[in-house]
């Protein structure tokens, strides 16, 4: 699940298309697969120039959405790319959600990579099909290909004005040779009809009508409902249980014991006792009446207050060097002015509005699944292993996701449904309560970070030391993992873009005690918080303007060689000029230069590159006499390369400002005795309409650079920008999140 794997998957897909879409496409998606997707079968001369596309003889274009829809619009936006290159009429395009299947390449909708990994493939598929349609029409009319062109679902012959619809040409086009990749002719930007335009998502109307089907809404005939009690401490085995009262609850059918997992926990079902009932309510009521005793586990020692101290102690001592430039120690030894600070970010919970839910039926050696999942192929793997069947016998239907944020890449809840279906011989819907969701998440990690700088007479750093400690999400797959992975460190820690001669990054060990996972923007959250809080501290110490200081520390426009995997680094070099540009843009649009801080009202800035996108945020904060915070305005400047759907991209950054505000203001998960202390939105609050930024203005930098990520990179700069604004407004420096734990006045 390391993000670096995405690079190799991308290579795989790239290779597939460079060899010619049809050949490999045909091998990966047999014609029968497409035929079964279309209404008829053999009498429909359906054809498929690529994995992602079908054209029926009635002119319906079927585009397979192989990525999961959790609110980014990807299920609609990727297909618009294909439709545009195909010159298809969007109204005649039908989107089919793909089942989980390795033939699609990676379907793990995660890591803000759907557009950047599949944009080229979608264009190639669309252009291939368009050229084959043109070839077919030219052949039918007996005219040169050059005299024909595609125009809104038709091929037109320039000289005679003759026209043939795509449907009429489907069978003929299927006999055309698939163009080689180097022969493909793409549309010019001026010819785009959908790319770069605000095409509404295909799900918008259904959602507003209450017809959108999420995982929790899925139904199967004869389905029963399950609610599961799990060990409050990770890995605690069940000692005993008494289900007498539970079984007496009206509507309860039976209880089922799910065995505990064998480490690593991975995506496995946690185990526990399930109550099976006629409806969700009866299952939940029955579950309340269950009496279960648990053994303790090694993780019962987990206490957040103590653990925080141990992390802080770790970062106060030298740790493993993960990046080194120049000689930090020599610079510190000169005895000049220095500044140091410690930061802390607690665990966070994803808390998607739809808690984890899935329906499964295991019958005749096969499993049929309906699930809100970011990763249907992981569902196949996980369910197959849980049931002891082959992966190909797991059919995973992907519903809409009521939020994901990384939580729904981990299909433990789907494994629960599958195991329960096997046990009761009926389709089973598992619905997690909010208490289950917040109490048994794959949490964002907890971290301590230490920074120290030596400063010249202008207050500019001549040496910069940064040290972190946090349990790694790799512990989910390898319990022995006690140091951060390269993937986690590459998210804003080992890729510091500052122009500082002496720089060293270190990372210390930390033991996991709860399930950990990636949450929207992952390790960038704590890295950006610490680094950009510290930059702001240095600017304040130097009595310099925070924007001017940040630009100075960033240094001149240049490309930084991070010795990253070469393909990615070549296509997406770290370009400090692009980071400068978004800082300048955010400052300009927020009116930074003119809005000087006053008591109780100020701006704060932070800028961070993540998921290959450059983002700067200026946040305006008001703190009233009682210490209450309001965020009247956020300006986010974004260079995400080429943007396919500006409205959906803006919405991602509007949402990221709210997500980031939750982390800054109130997000905190703690444990005592290994047990998570929060359970629902009263003690794990998330930003509401009166607490979230009132308005977020998103400023997109026009760019022809390759598309980069947009789902996550808006989050990291928000919490430091808020805290920097709080400092400017109140003089209180927040080094430990969340802000709710501090008195501001």
């Amino acid at each position: 699940m390391n993000r670096i794997e995405l690079v190799s998957r991308r290579t795989f897909l790239g290779g597939m298309f460079s060899a010619g879409a049809l050949v490999l496409g045909a091998r990966l998606l047999p014609i029968e697969a497409l035929a079964s997707m279309s209404k008829g079968s053999t009498d429909h001369a359906a054809w498929n120039p690529s994995v992602y596309l079908g054209l029926e003889t009635d002119g319906t274009v079927i585009i397979v959405a192989h990525r999961s829809e959790m609110g980014t619009g990807i299920r609609s936006v990727l297909p618009t790319v294909l439709a545009d290159e195909l010159d298809a009429d969007w109204k005649r395009v039908k989107i089919e959600q793909a089942l989980g299947d390795a033939k699609y390449g990676s379907q793990n909708t995660d890591g803000s990579c759907s557009i950047r990994d599949f944009y080229d493939a979608m264009r190639e598929a669309g252009a291939s099909a368009r050229m084959m349609l043109i070839g077919a029409a030219a052949e039918k009319w007996g005219v040169p290909v050059a005299e024909c062109k595609a125009q809104n679902h038709e091929i037109v012959h320039a000289g005679s004005g003759r026209k043939l619809g795509y449907g009429e040409l489907a069978a003929l086009a299927a006999k055309q040779t698939v163009p080689k990749k180097e022969e493909l002719k793409f549309k010019s930007a001026a010819e785009y009809r959908y790319i770069g335009k605000d095409v509404p998502t295909v799900d918008r109307a259904d959602i507003c009508a209450g017809k959108g089907v999420f995982g929790i809404d899925a139904q199967m005939p004869g389905m029963v409902y399950a609610s599961i009690v799990r060990s409050p401490v990770l890995g605690g085995k069940m000692k005993s249980y008494d289900d007498k009262e539970a079984r007496a609850v009206r509507g309860v059918q039976q209880t089922v014991v799910l065995p505990g997992f064998t480490p690593p926990h991975g995506f496995k079902a946690l185990g526990g006792v399930a109550v099976i009932a006629d409806n969700t309510w009866a299952a939940m009521k029955g579950r309340e009446k269950l009496k279960v005793e648990w053994e303790t586990s090694e993780h019962a020692s987990y206490d957040s207050a103590k653990y925080k101290q141990s992390l802080l102690e770790t970062v106060r001592k030298p740790q493993k060097v993960v990046r080194n430039v120049g000689d930090v120690d020599a610079e510190f030894a000169k005895g000049g002015k220095t500044h140091e600070a410690e930061y802390y970010v607690p665990h966070q919970s994803h808390a998607p509005m739809e808690p984890p839910a899935a329906v499964a039926e295991f019958k005749d050696g096969k499993a049929v699944i309906y699930a809100a999942t970011q990763n249907p192929q992981a569902v196949q793997d996980t369910v197959a292993t849980a049931l002891g069947i082959d992966k190909k016998n797991v059919e995973c239907h992907v519903t809409l996701l009521g939020g994901g944020f990384g939580r729904k890449s981990k299909p433990d809840y789907v494994a629960e449904a599958a195991l329960l279906s096997k046990a009761v011989g009926k389709p089973v819907k598992v619905t997690w309560s909010r208490e289950d969701d917040i109490g048994f998440d794959y949490y964002h990690t907890v971290s301590a970070l230490y920074l120290k700088a030596a400063l010249d007479e202008k207050g500019r750093p001549t040496a910069w030391l940064q040290r972190s400690a946090f349990p790694s999400m790799m512990s989910t797959f390898s319990p022995a993992a006690t140091s951060a992975s390269a993937g986690e460190l590459g998210m804003g820690w080992t890729d510091l873009p500052f122009d500082i001669v002496n720089h060293r990054a270190e990372n210390g060990p930390a033991q996991h005690h709860v399930r950990l996972g990636w949450m929207r923007s992952v390790a960038n959250i704590q890295h950006a918080f610490a680094i950009h809080s510290f930059v702001d501290e240095l600017a304040q110490l130097a009595k310099r303007d925070a924007v001017e200081y940040l630009l100075d520390v960033l240094g001149p426009s240049r490309q930084i060689d991070l010795q990253a995997p070469s393909r990615l680094a070549q296509k997406y070099p770290l370009d400090t000029g692009r980071l400068r540009r978004v800082i300048e843009l955010a400052a300009e649009r927020s009116n930074w230069a003119k809005k000087k801080p006053t008591k109780g009202r100020a701006l704060g800035i932070a800028a961070h590159r993540s998921f290959l996108s450059y983002v700067a945020a200026v946040v305006e904060v008001e703190v009233d006499n009682s210490g209450k915070i309001r965020i009247p305005r956020v300006d986010i400047a974004v260079d995400a390369g080429k943007v396919i759907n500006p409205d959906r991209v803006k919405s991602q950054f509007e949402g990221a400002a709210v997500f980031g505000a939750t982390i800054a203001l109130m997000g905190e998960i703690t444990a005592e005795g290994g047990v998570i202390q929060q359970s629902n939105f009263h003690d794990y609050p998330v930003a509401r309409i009166n607490e979230a930024p009132l308005v977020t203005h998103v400023h997109l930098v026009p760019s022809d650079a390759p598309p980069a990520g947009v789902g996550e990179p808006g989050v990291p700069p928000i919490s430091p920008a808020i805290c920097n604004a709080v400092f400017a407004a109140t003089g209180k420096r927040i080094r430990e999140l969340p802000i709710k734990n501090h008195k501001l006045v």
Partner: protein, 166 residues
């Protein structure tokens, strides 16, 4: 036996009178547009109209809904063209969309009570509805936009139900 009307249709229920209305709608009637989010009345995803007022269906027991009229998102407008639904589409409010049916029901109740809500009115009425995707600014924009539309486009009967229900 509990009798009630849901989207204008008479329904009856002889199960646990303490079952929240939410689960009757979702599991019995299969009206899944009403969502489960917290089970404690903290998030608003389950908002429906009970005799014309917005309530949390996870906190409304079946016995409390007896002899009352319930309108869910499916019954807000026969063609899903309530001014709030239209405004939601125009502003491209939904991201994942899960909370939006509850948001729409809450906003529709607000506008019935206060046809021209201020920002403070919107905060007060909508702060019980969580959106984890963070669509709040578009929710605010859509409410204001719906408020500026002629409300006469949706006929309303005495009980506050929309005119198109059966």
């Amino acid at each position: 036996m509990i009798r009630l009307k849901v989207n204008g249709v008479s329904r009856q229920f002889d199960g646990d009178p303490n079952m929240p209305l939410l689960w009757f709608l979702r599991d019995e009637l299969r009206l899944t547009g009403t969502k489960f989010g917290c089970g404690m009345g903290l998030c608003g995803a389950c908002t429906v109209h009970l005799n014309g007022s917005a309530v949390r269906s996870c906190q409304t027991l079946m016995q409390g809904a007896a002899d009352k009229e319930v309108v869910t998102i499916e019954g807000l407008h026969p063609k899903a063209e309530h001014p709030v639904q239209q405004a939601w589409q125009q502003a491209n409010v939904p991201q994942c969309g899960y909370c939006q049916t509850g948001q729409i029901m809450q906003a529709a109740a607000l506008l019935k009570q206060k046809p021209k809500p201020t920002d403070a009115d919107i905060d007060t009425a909508m702060k019980g509805n969580i959106c984890r995707c963070g669509t709040y600014q578009r929710i605010r924009e859509a409410i204001k936009s719906a408020a500026n539309k002629a409300p006469a486009s949706v006929p309303t009967n005495r009980s506050g139900r929309t005119g198109g229900e059966q």
